[in-house]
């Protein structure tokens, strides 16, 4: 059989190969369900892949050469962070690696020095700082329940994490809306037909660069839903159902709410999600000290 020490590498490799496929399918399902909700037929399931292939057939049009570097770094570090997660690494390091990759996207938008990209970049930064505390609290919560930051331990634990971390889970769902760029939190850039600021962060990226950004988004989808899995890791069947329901709720929220201003996004992420998460963790903490 395969030796133990090779497993993480194999898992990472599989993630790097398969995550874009899975992510693209999720994106396709997303568009189909959204279309049905809007009373339309919607594109075929494989449409995101056609979009991607088309983007790579276009010529590489940039405003400045450094954009190529920033987008490539964004993609590479996104893949690295996700691979780290799926190979069972330290959750906090995964979070910081994700932040690193997002900063590259922001820098790529700043590099072009155009008004739409600039405001998009500022808003993207606001989104990053909106969800980061909550995600850290999620990781901390998982530690408090399973006594480990390592995904490999959390995934194989038999404890029903969701029962201990309901507040954290709801908080995570709130910031999931921000991370998936769904209304009402799609300030910096959004799916097509939801435009504001033209395309916000991705305005001045064309052709292959836009394609790379799409692939990076797909890597991210798989990671984000993987975190939802962690909450239900003790029972894989329930986990899959939970992921489906959670994503469906996200699509529903996307189609029913209008975009909000950044102040509301920052406040709701920090105050609501933060309070939910901290109260949950505080209760856990207290229980752990009183009930050893």
């Amino acid at each position: 059989m395969i030796p133990e020490y090779l497993m993480p590498f194999i898992k990472a490799f599989l993630y790097i190969l398969l995550a874009p496929v899975v992510g693209g399918l999720i994106a396709g399902i997303d568009r189909r369900v959204t279309a049905r909700m809007q009373g339309r037929v919607g594109p075929p399931l494989l449409q995101p892949f056609y979009d991607l292939a088309k983007l790579f057939e276009k010529e590489n049009l940039v405003v400045t050469a450094s954009q190529n570097f920033f987008v490539l770094s964004y993609l590479v570090f996104m893949a690295v962070a996700g691979a780290l997660f799926f190979s069972g690494g330290d959750m906090l390091l995964v979070i910081f690696a994700f932040t690193l990759s997002h900063i590259f996207l922001v820098l790529g938008a700043y590099a072009s020095y155009s008004p739409y990209s600039h405001v998009g970049a500022e808003r993207e930064l606001l989104q990053i700082i909106s969800y980061e505390p909550m995600i850290i609290l999620t990781a901390v919560g998982m530690y408090m329940v399973t006594r480990s930051f390592f995904v490999s331990t959390i995934v194989t634990s038999n404890i029903p994490i969701i029962l201990y971390l309901p507040g954290v889970f709801i908080g995570y769902l709130i910031v999931l809306t921000i991370k998936l760029r769904k209304s009402p939190f799609d300030l910096s850039t959004s799916h097509h037909a939801h435009q504001e600021l033209v395309k916000g962060v991705t305005t001045d990226f064309g052709g292959p660069n836009l394609g790379k950004i799409e692939i990076a988004h797909w890597y991210e989808y798989v990671f984000l839903l993987g975190v939802v899995w962690l909450f239900f890791a003790w029972n894989p069947l329930i986990a899959i159902v939970a992921i489906i329901i959670a994503y469906f709720i996200e699509i529903l929220i996307d189609n029913t709410f209008a975009r909000v201003k950044w102040q509301l996004m920052l406040r709701s992420a920090w105050i609501i999600a933060g309070t939910l998460g901290l109260v949950n963790l505080g209760v856990l903490y207290y229980l752990r000290m009183v009930v050893p």
């Binding site: 049009l61 940039v62 690494g89 008004p115 930064l125 700082i129």
Partner: protein
């Protein structure tokens, strides 16, 4: 130093001394790193008398200046401190016999390295900087000989501080650094500079009073003076050491400019940039946290320690928020420094063994990265004539090498896999195992996000590519380039070799004190190393895209873009575009948050004071 009047003489003296100090520091490292704690018995007598005499002279000098400039608070504080000093000397010093006055352990080594290497580098940089400074500011009196003299006195004082075991000597060097800071802040002798220097002096004197009170307490408790030896004090248990520990940590808080005493550091930014880099980010304020880290084993597990940690944590969160709303580059750096010092103190106040490890790691990384940032900002300021971040747009075109160095410095402050993130990561993992750690994790999460915001904002401003800009960095002198290159290299190298530093210096130190130590796991270390290498290789990709890339102007709704940021508006008028960052002053404004921070921290300190009085009685 005070003698060399001509520029070239001065330059030579500075460079030789700097190299000498650097080499000596390294020699000390090589000699001392595996020796554990070495204690040197030196006869205190003539030295202590001289110190006392110098302290009185300095007190008189400050009194004179305070009266001349009509600064009541300073006058009051210096008189109070002088009285305490006299009381101590006359009342107790006859009976004190302290043998072990100097010592060397891994932590002193680290501090000495920082002071020696970074300090010397900054002095070399300062030569070129001050020349341009006086060119630009002809109205300021040229007192450069005094300037450099004080810089070197300061570095010596830092060495003295970290090598002294005798708390009286520590106090002496402590006060010397205060005076150096006072004189250097007021260098330009403008009204603002003078006011800020007195503000700094008053706050540091307040800390000095607390330090003196601690010394008197110790002399009362043990008239033979044994407890005035640091190593003895630390090992004599919490019951004895708590009161002086808290008082000395209060002095450390004032020196490290934590809230509620942060205004002096922000005000000190009027000083020439080498002063800010040396004193107010890498060394003097580090002396404040140094002493708090020393007392961490005493503070750990106590309520007072927790309060001190909360003061640090609150400072971290609030200073990071305030930094978001600042557009003056040096003020952003000042608030970031204050925030990071707060984080170090938060780790030290809770004081478990892994938190002490984190605190020392933070100290090292911050000293290097921040000094690099200050020096770069100083250079940029001289070239573009402004400290405003908004004027630094397109720096990568105008000053490419400096912009890249700033990029690395900023990355060192908040990006994985660089140092500060490693420390923050270790801090979260350490806090979670400590009692009441949850508050600190929340502070780290929210404050950490704030730091991501303001650093990325600034980074974005620098790397935005503006077209048709002249390159203005060719006039920078060679010595400055050398210093900047070395510091940038250090940022990267220290990140690469920090496991080595950890195992050689930090872990034995922590092991010695707590009996157990910690480190990052092997797997994580390899991953971080891989990320760092990846990060260094990635810019090579820029070479691949040379061909086949077509350039187009940015999308401005189809408006033709002419040259740099001018576009053809309606009616054929050419308009200029200005892009500025979000400062969000309504949410993160300095005044509001400052009030919050100051009140919270005063409340915490008063609480600690009340507890302390309870302990004494």
């Amino acid at each position: 130093m005070l003698v060399g009047r001509k520029d070239s003489e001065r330059k030579a003296i500075v460079q030789i001394s700097a190299v000498a100090i650097g080499i000596v520091s390294l020699l000390v490292l090589i000699f001392g790193y595996d020796k554990g704690t070495l204690i040197f018995s030196v006869n205190p007598e003539p030295v202590s008398q001289i110190m006392f005499f110098i302290e009185l002279v300095l007190a008189g000098y400050i009194l004179y200046l305070g009266i001349r400039h009509r600064k009541l608070l300073t006058v009051f504080l210096i008189l109070f401190q002088a009285c305490l000093l006299l009381y101590f000397e006359l009342g107790f010093s006859r009976n004190l016999h302290i043998g072990n006055n100097l010592f060397l352990d891994q932590f002193s080594l680290i501090m000495a390295l920082i002071a020696g290497i970074i300090g010397s580098l900054i002095c070399v940089y300062a030569v070129g900087y001050m020349e341009t400074y006086h060119d630009h500011h002809k109205e300021i009196r040229d007192r450069r000989s005094l300037f450099f003299g004080i810089l070197f006195i300061f570095i010596s004082a830092m060495f003295g501080l970290v090598f002294s075991n005798n708390l009286l000597w520590v106090f002496f060097f402590w006060e010397i650094t205060t005076i150096c800071s006072f004189l250097l802040i007021g260098y330009s002798q403008s009204e603002e500079a003078t006011n800020n220097s007195f503000l700094a002096l008053s706050m540091n004197l307040l800390g000095g009073v607390a330090f003196m009170a601690a010394l008197i307490y110790l002399a009362i408790v043990d008239p033979t003076g044994q407890l005035l030896g640091l190593n003895y004090l630390l090992s004599s248990g919490k019951a004895v050491a708590l009161v002086p520990a808290v008082l000395i940590c209060f002095a450390g808080i004032t020196k490290a400019a934590l809230m509620p005493f942060s205004s002096w550091l922000v005000g000190a930014m009027v000083a020439p940039t080498p002063v800010s880099a040396l004193l107010h980010s890498s060394t003097m304020v580090k002396a404040g946290v140094y002493i708090i880290i020393r007392f961490a084993p005493v503070l750990s597990g106590t309520t007072e320690g927790l309060i001190i940690a909360l003061v640090g944590g609150t400072t971290f969160a609030l200073a990071s928020f305030i930094a978001i709303s600042q557009n003056n580059a040096k003020k952003v750096l000042a608030y970031s420094t204050i925030a990071n010092l707060g984080l170090i103190v938060a780790c030290a106040g809770v004081g478990t063994y892994n938190l002490m490890w984190v605190a020392i790691l933070l100290l090292i990384f911050h000293a290097i990265a921040k000094s690099l940032m200050f020096l770069c900002v100083g250079t940029v300021e001289h070239r573009i004539g402004s400290r405003n971040i908004e004027d630094m747009g397109g720096l990568i075109v105008r000053m490419p090498k400096i912009a890249i160095m700033m990029f690395i410095g900023m990355a060192g402050m908040f990006l994985a896999p660089f140092g500060m993130v490693i420390s923050k990561w270790a801090a979260i993992e350490a806090f979670i195992m400590a009692p009441v750690g949850l508050i600190f994790i929340a502070i780290l999460a929210f404050g950490g996000s704030a730091t991501v915001f303001f650093w990325s904002k600034w980074m974005g401003k620098i790397i935005s590519v503006m077209r048709d800009q002249p390159v203005i960095e060719d006039t920078i002198k060679k010595e400055k380039w050398a210093v900047l290159y070395i510091l940038t290299g250090l940022v990267v190298i220290v990140c690469l070799i920090f496991p080595l530093i950890s195992s050689i210096l930090i872990e034995p130190f922590v092991l010695n004190i707590y009996g157990q130590t910690t480190r990052l796991s092997q797997a994580n270390l390899s991953i971080m190393l891989m990320m760092l290498c990846l990060l260094m290789i990635m810019p090579l990709s820029l070479l691949f895209y040379r061909k086949g890339t077509k350039y187009a102007p940015p999308y401005m709704a189809g408006r033709p873009v002419e040259g740099h940021m001018r576009f053809a508006g309606s009616m054929g008028v050419s308009r200029e575009l200005e892009l500025s960052n979000y400062y969000m002053t309504s949410l993160f404004g300095e005044e509001r948050l400052f009030m919050v921070g100051t009140s919270l921290c005063w409340a915490l300190l008063l609480f600690a004071g009340i507890l302390l009085v309870g302990v004494i009685l």
